[in-house]
Symmetry: D3
Subunit: 314 residues, 6 copies
Amino acid sequence: MGKGILHYDVGEQIELFLLIKSATKGTASNGKPFLTLILQDQSGEIEAKLWDANDDDEKSYAAQNIVKILGDVQSYRGKSQLKIRQIRRTGPADGVKLDDFLETAPLSIEEMQSELTQYIFEMKNPNIQRITRHLMKKHHKEFMEYPAATKNHHEFVSGLAYHVVSMLKLAKAIAALYPSLDKDLLYAGIILHDMGKVMELSGPISTVYTLEGNLLGHITIMINEIGKAAEELGISGEEVLILQHLVLSHHGKAEWGSPKPPLIKEAEILHYIDNIDAKMNMLEGALERVKPGEFSERIFALDNRSFYKPVFHK
Amino acid sequence: MGKGILHYDVGEQIELFLLIKSATKGTASNGKPFLTLILQDQSGEIEAKLWDANDDDEKSYAAQNIVKILGDVQSYRGKSQLKIRQIRRTGPADGVKLDDFLETAPLSIEEMQSELTQYIFEMKNPNIQRITRHLMKKHHKEFMEYPAATKNHHEFVSGLAYHVVSMLKLAKAIAALYPSLDKDLLYAGIILHDMGKVMELSGPISTVYTLEGNLLGHITIMINEIGKAAEELGISGEEVLILQHLVLSHHGKAEWGSPKPPLIKEAEILHYIDNIDAKMNMLEGALERVKPGEFSERIFALDNRSFYKPVFHK
Amino acid sequence: MGKGILHYDVGEQIELFLLIKSATKGTASNGKPFLTLILQDQSGEIEAKLWDANDDDEKSYAAQNIVKILGDVQSYRGKSQLKIRQIRRTGPADGVKLDDFLETAPLSIEEMQSELTQYIFEMKNPNIQRITRHLMKKHHKEFMEYPAATKNHHEFVSGLAYHVVSMLKLAKAIAALYPSLDKDLLYAGIILHDMGKVMELSGPISTVYTLEGNLLGHITIMINEIGKAAEELGISGEEVLILQHLVLSHHGKAEWGSPKPPLIKEAEILHYIDNIDAKMNMLEGALERVKPGEFSERIFALDNRSFYKPVFHK
Amino acid sequence: MGKGILHYDVGEQIELFLLIKSATKGTASNGKPFLTLILQDQSGEIEAKLWDANDDDEKSYAAQNIVKILGDVQSYRGKSQLKIRQIRRTGPADGVKLDDFLETAPLSIEEMQSELTQYIFEMKNPNIQRITRHLMKKHHKEFMEYPAATKNHHEFVSGLAYHVVSMLKLAKAIAALYPSLDKDLLYAGIILHDMGKVMELSGPISTVYTLEGNLLGHITIMINEIGKAAEELGISGEEVLILQHLVLSHHGKAEWGSPKPPLIKEAEILHYIDNIDAKMNMLEGALERVKPGEFSERIFALDNRSFYKPVFHK
Amino acid sequence: MGKGILHYDVGEQIELFLLIKSATKGTASNGKPFLTLILQDQSGEIEAKLWDANDDDEKSYAAQNIVKILGDVQSYRGKSQLKIRQIRRTGPADGVKLDDFLETAPLSIEEMQSELTQYIFEMKNPNIQRITRHLMKKHHKEFMEYPAATKNHHEFVSGLAYHVVSMLKLAKAIAALYPSLDKDLLYAGIILHDMGKVMELSGPISTVYTLEGNLLGHITIMINEIGKAAEELGISGEEVLILQHLVLSHHGKAEWGSPKPPLIKEAEILHYIDNIDAKMNMLEGALERVKPGEFSERIFALDNRSFYKPVFHK
Amino acid sequence: MGKGILHYDVGEQIELFLLIKSATKGTASNGKPFLTLILQDQSGEIEAKLWDANDDDEKSYAAQNIVKILGDVQSYRGKSQLKIRQIRRTGPADGVKLDDFLETAPLSIEEMQSELTQYIFEMKNPNIQRITRHLMKKHHKEFMEYPAATKNHHEFVSGLAYHVVSMLKLAKAIAALYPSLDKDLLYAGIILHDMGKVMELSGPISTVYTLEGNLLGHITIMINEIGKAAEELGISGEEVLILQHLVLSHHGKAEWGSPKPPLIKEAEILHYIDNIDAKMNMLEGALERVKPGEFSERIFALDNRSFYKPVFHK
């Protein structure tokens, strides 16, 4: 599809198909309505304003439509903004489809599935293995497609599965260095820790929180799921309680959403692994957009810090 | 049984049957072992030291035994302490039994049961009523006997049921003043909010935390219970989610153990009612032991404050 | 007066008399001046922009004027906004008056006065009763008319008296359940706790802080008033000190404005009662504007939470 | 009186008259009572244990008695402790009197009085001057004798007046460098800021908090005093309000006891001056007891820090 | 140069030469570009919008250019704003130069230099004196010209030197009142404490942070400088370590940027002196712009407080 | 040497050579002196009391002496304590030497040295490599022998080098999973991050803080060292600044001692790696002392949590 929207510099003209991620109506200070469009392709997203938007525009340029745009990349308050010269909705003749515009995980679902199967296969404790396999099967489709969050990190199609697979690899490497770690617990804890997101979030695109997500949250939802799985499988050992504890405590502190802090060694390490993979994802995302010798945009979930790319990192 | 241990003043001599609540062995600074006994009757408890305790003493004066003591009430660091002159273990001939020494709720189990039944009966929403009744039935025995906590407030036999009944009365009065409140939700939320304690705590006496209590806590345990109850009863309406939210949020804030804050009006009010009844129980307990014109002992759960009893409160 | 401004839905056209609560001049991004008007009637308030406002407009449409407006209710950033088609200032011929546009307490001043008199009459301690009656008499007019705050809760004409009467009813109900509470102290504490607002705030409408309010605050002001009252009445018992303490500590913590936390049982309960009535007022206000199945606007003073109205709350 | 108790090193034998500052009874781990005595002379204080203390000892060696002691200075957990060999109560024949054992300000009451008079004399604003003079006169005796606190800083006889005089000198120096400061306000604020301590504290020796001190605190007490003074003097200008604000805000922040932070330039500076003089007093006290190259004892009110005395500070 | 821009009231017309401090391009809500200009002369600065700015305008009205403006002072959200009627860039014929528009310290560089020399001359400890003199010489030019900060306080040409000279005078006055203070340490600590700013900041005008400033900060930079100076001078006594500690700890707390809190008496006092001079500078700056009886703008670095100027401060 | 002291259960009798780690004199409540001895061998340490200790005992049983003890392992407040029956100082005839009693890293100095050499060898950036090699050479002896801390983690001989080697392995594994990481920076940052401890701490045994450690801390000390190394090697590229930043920021937050937070990706990851290795060391240390189904002692540096060892972890 040629160069993505994120790779155009300020001052360049673009002529691109873009997906409308969201469209919000506003009233300009001259009293006329306008639309704020967030436009995206697989390279990332950009904001654009459509001035003097009438009712037809509002319908034509709603979220999830694909448009063809002729315009200029400008700078506004230090961020890129698209100045629209021409815009039109696409039709069948344009030969474009939704999937071409969505950011997705760098691994295919098949590759990730194969990794996950292997890690579950390696588990030696049958109770832990059966519960994990049961829940993976139950939520399989959503688990492979949902993002890991609505923003901050892994906020793309299949982001949840990709985050989990990356954590599993990290866990394997760490467990090799500290052999006292129970790999079964680590692997199962990683696979289950965010699985509740398939009920907390609405789906892979235009993701919002469900009512259950708002009132209970993915941690509490998942504790229930583990409880039900154990009952259905007739498993009652301490493993059930420990797996629930791993999920319950993975945010690390009460004020971060875990009513119990980690009280098992593997729960503590799971919290660290989750943190490293999430932060690496944010850091790589922010730094790939800057040149050596520059500071990145501020990253909210990293205490709003702006990171520097050394000049010798050419 | 005559005057309780708490009603003796410093300087008085006592000759009483007392229950050993706990016995901890220590080594005195002269190298000899001693026992720290917490002795109780229904009026309250007092500490005593048994010096030069040998191995037989350690066995005879273990927790849950009833002893007969001759001694003097003394003052040590501003608290009463019992100086033991004579101590002996009781036998069948003494005609004393465990129940006579345990602090219990001021209402009988029958009275409280009758109140609870009435409140459940008054519920109009059948889903809410059925779930509440089901869980009350399932955990009935423990619910009527357990304390509400190991310390701080309602830490006596049947303290949990007494706390719940007091809260229900308070809820009824408040709902009469603010008619927009949903009484069904309030009553059900109150009955269920601490019910998980029957699994978090070990039992009505010498209460400690269970492993499940340590690793999950009564809130998470109870969310599971409501989920299971709904499944068994075939109820799937929004009421299930809302009841789980009421329990989940009743500590008010993440740092106090609720991963979601109250997001329903009745959840917010439930948190206030819980707070008022717990704090009134602490305040009344602390102030009944001081005379007008004096300050109470410091109350840890009230920010370690010491409360004053006005002189005109004779 | 027909349907209030708050009861029109987005898309509806209105033709209404409205009171200008505030008018702020701004410069549009095209360099021309405009007015931001907050318009109100007894149902609530709505924002409107008056574009291209000249100097005459600025004078005509100043705060406290009543206008007749023809316009459309629109949505702007999730809040309703009024698009003005025609606006004119009203004159005597329109037969409208200020009082018809002000939100006031749901009870009349006479009803509230009668309640207050009764509660003071019930006090048994003559010192407490005389001080309360003296101060009520001294500040009577303002006490019955002032709001309880400039925003957040009870921010309407007679809001202060209404808040106090609601708290008194709550106190009566609570004292019936916990008989150890001193009703005289509770009632007097409630009547006096916010009375300093009649000096902290400027008046019942377009309320702002006075210099005394800014530099001392209503709590400190009221401590002085109680001291003076006691001196004038020749009362010197511990009751004076305790009443001052009740007022001083009613915000509960130093960081919330009480240099001493509650150190009297009734002071602690007064703080809870104040909290419940204020929060119920906010919650009811926010939730009456949403439909079942929706979340309310964020409520700043409730940690910026958005509350959910269950679907079964039809 | 020879070398003071603080100037004896560990290992030295002493034979001294000492004042009993406090005496607390305890029970040793062998079951026998003992007394913990805090003994003082003008150089400072030291702890001593009197083992196997009988009832007569308890009476003889109560607080405020002067004793003659033969003993050894020992080290216990890094602090000096006195091992008592012989102790006896003194009588008229010993020719010792209370005043000889109390730590007092390094300036005489006459000197401090003269300084205070001069600063009040220099005030140009008659309202400020009259209120200050009136209150100084009203509380004169206590103001000249009370300590500034029960511990931490200026905790000696006439400590309050000494602290105020030191602050006045500091204010004069600072105002000379920043001429925009209003010296009248600064001087009056300094003289009045802690004057409420004469009602908050019980007296110059064995100082404890009064009930009024506990329930209201010296800041609130003093606001009342300024209000009364203004009324008695018939002064009603903004100066009254500003003086009350200076006192109210002098702790700087709500969580440190000032319900309003400084909102006047002189109030802000008053807070800094108070801080500097209090901290200098603590630092000098702690450092005069250590040798160059050593760290001082931890100073609780300075975040529990231990300060180093450089080797080149011989 | 006549009346400065800050001394014009809202409503007045101006015709002035002004320096463009910064110029930021924006897009108006009608889609057209505009420039936000911050214009300054020695009296202070004002914001102005230049609507419909074309590319030529963007070049002509860039930062550091001097312009002649005809316009009106207006009020926008409580702050003054300049409405531009005519604007033109100046040329040699206008006879204006950069220095005439920059705010500078109220003392000349020569006066400040002479003060600094005198304070260094008074030092008695040769190690302290030599290190201070060496570093002062090394960074002399920048030290005399840099501001003390990019905003908040002493943010003008030579602000750093002026801040240091004011602190030295304050130190002299305080040391006279507390003779135990080591004047050498105080003076050297004051001169060195912020000297690292000559490497942390980019220069005297349009000041931004350097990379070294962002990644290390002026405190760490200066520790290095003292270390190097000592090495070059062959000084190795405890004085080096103590001077480094004075600089390291001068922000007072870890969360304010000092990894070690003050652990030397003079370090503690240095922190207070720094604070007083910085805050006095902010307070005087904010209050000179308001009339008696008014509140100042909010001062961010003083907890966002707004300060009141008493009516009797005419 | 047979079974270590830590492997004896309560109730067992021991006859062992032990090293006195520390000896503190106290006064028993009967007035007689005693010694609190911390005794250690390579398995760990235990506390013992030596009652009625005379002056000779104090000299014989000072720290760093090896003693032979006959005694019983007892339990005191949940911790093991040694009851001494016989104790005697050892002499040459006993054939025991200091090294046999010290806990040391599980890898030999040679093994660790070889690992370190290899990691430095792998660095590709010559500036980074040269600085690292230079500093490693300069502080080689101490770096290989010092502990990583006085308590909490890696508090044993060669603990610093062992901690660094473990972190390097972890870094290698993580960098393999996230190839965007600069391995040179990570490896150099890890080797240098705590090297300042060789000046902050006093040595490998009986470790305390040096004056430089107290007043500057290991981070600030090391920044200086890197600066000096670069100067000596004539290196001036951005690498010097970045290496200083890595060391400066490795505690992650200002309140944890890093005046600048990580602003380079590798600095952020270095902080996580440091954390994981330190916490794993604490967790393994605490859990190896408990049996499956038990909770560990509380670990202060892990928020005082007590960790559970699952029953299925046999």
